[in-house]
Symmetry: C2
Subunit: 185 residues, 2 copies
């Protein structure tokens, strides 16, 4: 006894993810957000509550889509060396030329939003585990502690890379660097 929802919640959140990813939280106003979600104000507030809630859901979708796809690619890689598998993380694709949503959320939103802070940490941990998995399958000579350290360093390199990318800095030869870091030179 009710008219069914016409828009697709997942698709709407996809649009929200994209616009928050590109513009950040504060810089995205309601009209921007509604346009990206293809929703009107009424439907928006009835379905999601408020802007902050949608931002969190957008983070969740980034986790489910982008991060998961990233992890799957790391896992599926069959190159014999770890560097080759990790390189895509250090190639700014056209689709992601606005940086990494996790990094953006950490810097802009996390400091005064504990829920977002925790979510970004969880996502960073997932990435780290993915990197660790790549190392475990290959550089078997390393001690587990050393391997964890390397994964953490690559994760930090990744975030630093993403942050600097947002200033438009030209990117350099990361393959050689990662290779040397992992002793695969």
């Amino acid at each position: 006894m009710a008219r069914p929802r016409e828009f697709d919640i997942a698709k709407a959140l996809d649009g929200a993810m994209r616009v928050f990813w590109r513009q950040g939280y504060k810089a995205t106003n309601l009209p921007d957000l509604l346009c990206a979600m293809k929703l009107t104000r009424g439907s928006f507030y009835k379905a999601f509550g408020d802007k902050g809630a949608v931002y969190y859901h957008a983070l969740e979708r980034y986790d489910e889509e982008v991060v998961s796809a990233n992890l799957a690619a790391l896992k599926a890689c069959d190159a014999p060396d770890a560097t080759t598998c990790l390189m895509p993380m250090f190639t700014l694709s056209d689709a992601a030329d606005h940086g990494c949503f996790i990094c953006n959320a950490m810097v802009e939103v996390a400091p005064d939003n504990p829920k977002v802070a925790q979510k970004t940490q969880e996502m960073a941990d997932r990435l780290k585990q993915g990197i660790l998995g790549v190392l475990e399958v290959r550089d078997v000579g390393l001690s587990p502690a050393h391997r964890t350290d390397l994964a953490e360093m690559i994760l930090h390199l990744y975030f630093g890379f993403q942050a600097m990318g947002k200033s438009g800095r030209a990117q350099d030869d990361w393959e050689g660097r990662i290779r040397r870091l992992l002793g695969e030179g």
Copy 2:
């Protein structure tokens, strides 16, 4: 034949630097900014023009004060190993528990402000040169190209470290990692 300015421009910009550093550009409104600069609206607009101009000046002051102090410390360090000299960069002091202003500006402002983008790149380059200086005095066995690569990696590690720090993540043993990265283990 004119009443002299009573407030200290440098001190006012210092206050602006602190509040922008802590809160970011968008999250800092005029009342916040005026309070931090200890200025009234009238004096503010007459002396500086607008909020955006003050943000840029705040970045410049960060460069002159914080970055310069950082570089001076790197240069003055007399420890025999590079790691010991670089470690302070990876220790979040109380004074800077809101991260690194350069990193914040890169992520929040640089994407749609070319002047800020260029300034952050210049500041990052200064940091890199400082790191490079530390390496040049010590690890003389390295080739120049390898040394530049290492400096760039440490710079990226630093920015990644700062970004992740904003999510409140507990910090781990960076001394061991840097030491191993530089072959000083």
